[in-house]
Amino acid sequence: MTGLLEVERLTVRRPGGPPLVREVSFQVARGERLGIVGASGSGKSLTALAIAGLLPDGLTAEGSVRLDGREILDLPEAELARLRGRRIAMVFQEPLTALDPARRIGRQVAEPLAIHGLGTSLERTARAAALLRAVGLPPERASPDSFPHELSGGQRQRVLIAAALAAGPDLLLADEPTTALDLVTQRQILDLLDELVAAKGLALLLVSHDEGVIARMCPHVLVMAGGRIVRAGPAAAPSTAGAVLPPQPPGRADPPALLTASGVSRRYRLPGGATRQAVDGVDLTITPGEAVGLVGSSGSGKSTLVRLLTGLERPDAGVVRLEGRDPAEPAVPRHPVQLVFQDPFDSLDPRWRVGRILAEPLHGLRLDPAERHRRVLAALAEVGLPAEAVGRHPHAFSGGQRQRIAIARALVAHPRLVVLDEPISALDRALQEQVLELLAALRTRHGLAYLLVSHDLDIVRRLCSRVLVMAEGRIVEEGPVGQVLLQPASAAARALLAARLAPPAPSPAPPVAPPKAWDYEP
């Protein structure tokens, strides 16, 4: 019996350019689930888009894609459009931009029905309401008359799923459906997909860069790299849990505090006039050489707290002291605290050469040019980048290399505290490993204190000794890593733990060295 979807030697390229997807072939039977996993740029998304005939401008597809035995790859736009929504549905990665901002969500869910002329308008509205309820968005949680910008990322993804299933498709293509969501919401959406696909007997083609997500949802997996399928077969058994970092021995007799925050809070005025309490009365201290984790779901106030601690913003109430001085005061030297950002593409000025980027933190210090240059080269060496990188622009480097440059920038001013705001979540799994190892090594080598902000508990466990859990702008739990992450007291911590999927592959944690000051003071 022919499969529902048969893909044979599918190739996608820009006319005259190298193929981005090379001779990909696979089959999906009715009701079957197939996962495709691969790093970014491996061609997995283009494969899904090619099947639905939604390739971006300028890309062409060759080979054969048959739906129920009927060739659809070379169908004219009008005929292919009739299949979309009715037979093949899609869910995309960026929920925030995937819905028409100017149209109410009720109408968008009903739109596929209208397009394919299914039922009267009254019936369609009723069907849309039922669909929204089915994806966990009853009217009391999100009214059909609200607009997309009034909903959260997770809610919008639910609306998309409702719309995709509205016209009763046979095949659902899901392209990185949960990548842009935080762990807790990610888990809920995957459960929802699992339940709906089973209930409606849909065939599912799930594309993701996260093996954990694929392993959880699909029995069969294709691994793609460089546009080709490199491995196919049953999903790999979930790898064993990683070794737990031995709890960080408490530091020497209570050293003088490096960074303290007492009763710090910050309010934002929303455009509609209402105010949101982002940070509400936070107290924390970080001692030299200590590695502290700060975890919490998105919207818990982590980033705002980071901006307050580093002096980028002034708190409405409370006091922040960095080595006894207020970091927000312009006169106070800033180099003791440095920041590494999440998005490597956003953290380096595209117009500057790497040499000048690395020298920027030395702005406040009166150093002669020779000394400046020496420091820049030293920092580059520490992060394992060639000295001649100094003369090149950021766009000449990969994501991983850029993050190394950002880290080098944090080191060049010989800081005592480095705040890492989601340092590796934007990187691929393989790169994350290398950067983690680099960070761990640098900490021991220079006796740095870390404040690691993340929603990923595994990374916190591997780098930090103590962890703070944040929710609704307050620290709801604090304690050594081992105790908080194994028997969490607060509800927020428990939700984070539950949402954690297959723990990452094991890797030996570096031995812990006593903190050592820089070879000389600046």
Binding site: L312, F341, S347, D349, P350, R351, E360, L362, G399
Partner: protein, 275 residues
């Protein structure tokens, strides 16, 4: 890879046409076949001839020399006007974006006020008060374009400030002005460049309008606008006198617009994110 490689023809065509107007204009600074103001009544209203490739005007002046000098003055006025509006508009926009809050509103309201005054009226009043001259034409056109640059700069800068590399710069203790000069302006340069070419084109058109109303540079210095205006009543006698300056204006504006479009596509934000 360029987003649409075949689109670059508009850049090169723009450069070619703009040069076709700018080069002779620049040349006229040093040399023109005849002195533009040389009147020879006996030789008036002649058609093309070896001596005068584009013929002569009602006062017997060589039309080719007039066109070259006219283009020089028109472009000179346009450059002066755009320089004025960039010189004031860009810093204002950058300041509004850097400070934000009430200053932002004040500056933007101020530019709205300036925008509310019809350009033609400002030009007429200025010319009436100070007497028509190149300076007045530059002031009138420049003042009117100022809000455009303030707005473009502000909206572009507001998108750069939250970027991570700017936060890093703030962390290094750099002042807002220094950050504006080192990080903000270089990153919005491309959008400004596009506006400059488009506003130059608009300035040339506005100068033609002012010339028509007799408010542009006084005689004997020719400008394309006044040549076109003066030639209107000679349309029946010798249409060539109106067609040539009109064509020069149209080509200059066309060239600059193509250049602007081409620049916008070439300077697409390819630098930020790996495709």
């Amino acid at each position: 890879m360029a987003e649409h490689p075949d689109r670059n023809w508009s850049l090169w065509l723009g450069v070619a046409i703009t040069l076709a107007i700018v080069l002779p204009a620049a040349l006229s600074l040093a040399w023109t076949p005849y002195p533009p103001a040389a009147i020879d009544i006996k030789a008036r209203l002649q058609g093309w001839s070896p001596a005068h490739p584009l013929g002569t005007d009602p006062f017997g002046r060589d039309v080719l020399s007039l066109l070259m000098a006219g283009a020089r003055n028109s472009i000179g006025i346009a450059l002066g006007a755009v320089a004025l509006s960039v010189g004031i508009g860009v810093p204002l926009g950058a300041l509004a974006a850097a400070r934000g809050g009430w200053l932002d509103d004040l500056l933007m309201r101020g530019s709205d006020l300036l925008f509310a005054f019809p350009a033609v009226l400002t030009a007429i009043m200025l010319a009436a008060a100070l007497g028509p001259s190149m300076g007045v034409a530059i002031l009138a056109i420049g003042l009117f374009n100022l809000p455009v640059f303030a707005r473009v700069t502000r909206s572009a800068a507001v998108r750069i400030w939250p970027r991570a590399f700017v936060q890093a710069a703030r962390l290094s203790g750099k002042s807002r002005t220094r950050i504006t000069l080192e990080h903000i302006l270089p990153n919005i340069l491309d959008q400004l460049l596009v506006q400059v070419t488009l506003q130059l084109a608009l300035a040339i058109l506005t100068e033609a309008g002012l010339g028509y109303l007799g408010l542009s540079v006084p005689p004997p210095a020719p400008t394309l606008g006044r040549m076109l205006a003066d030639a209107q009543s000679f349309l029946a006698v010798s249409p060539r006198l109106a067609i040539l300056p009109g064509l020069a204006i149209a080509l200059a504006v066309l060239g600059l617009n193509l250049l602007g479009d081409g620049l916008r596509d070439r300077l697409d934000p390819r630098l930020g994110r790996q495709p």
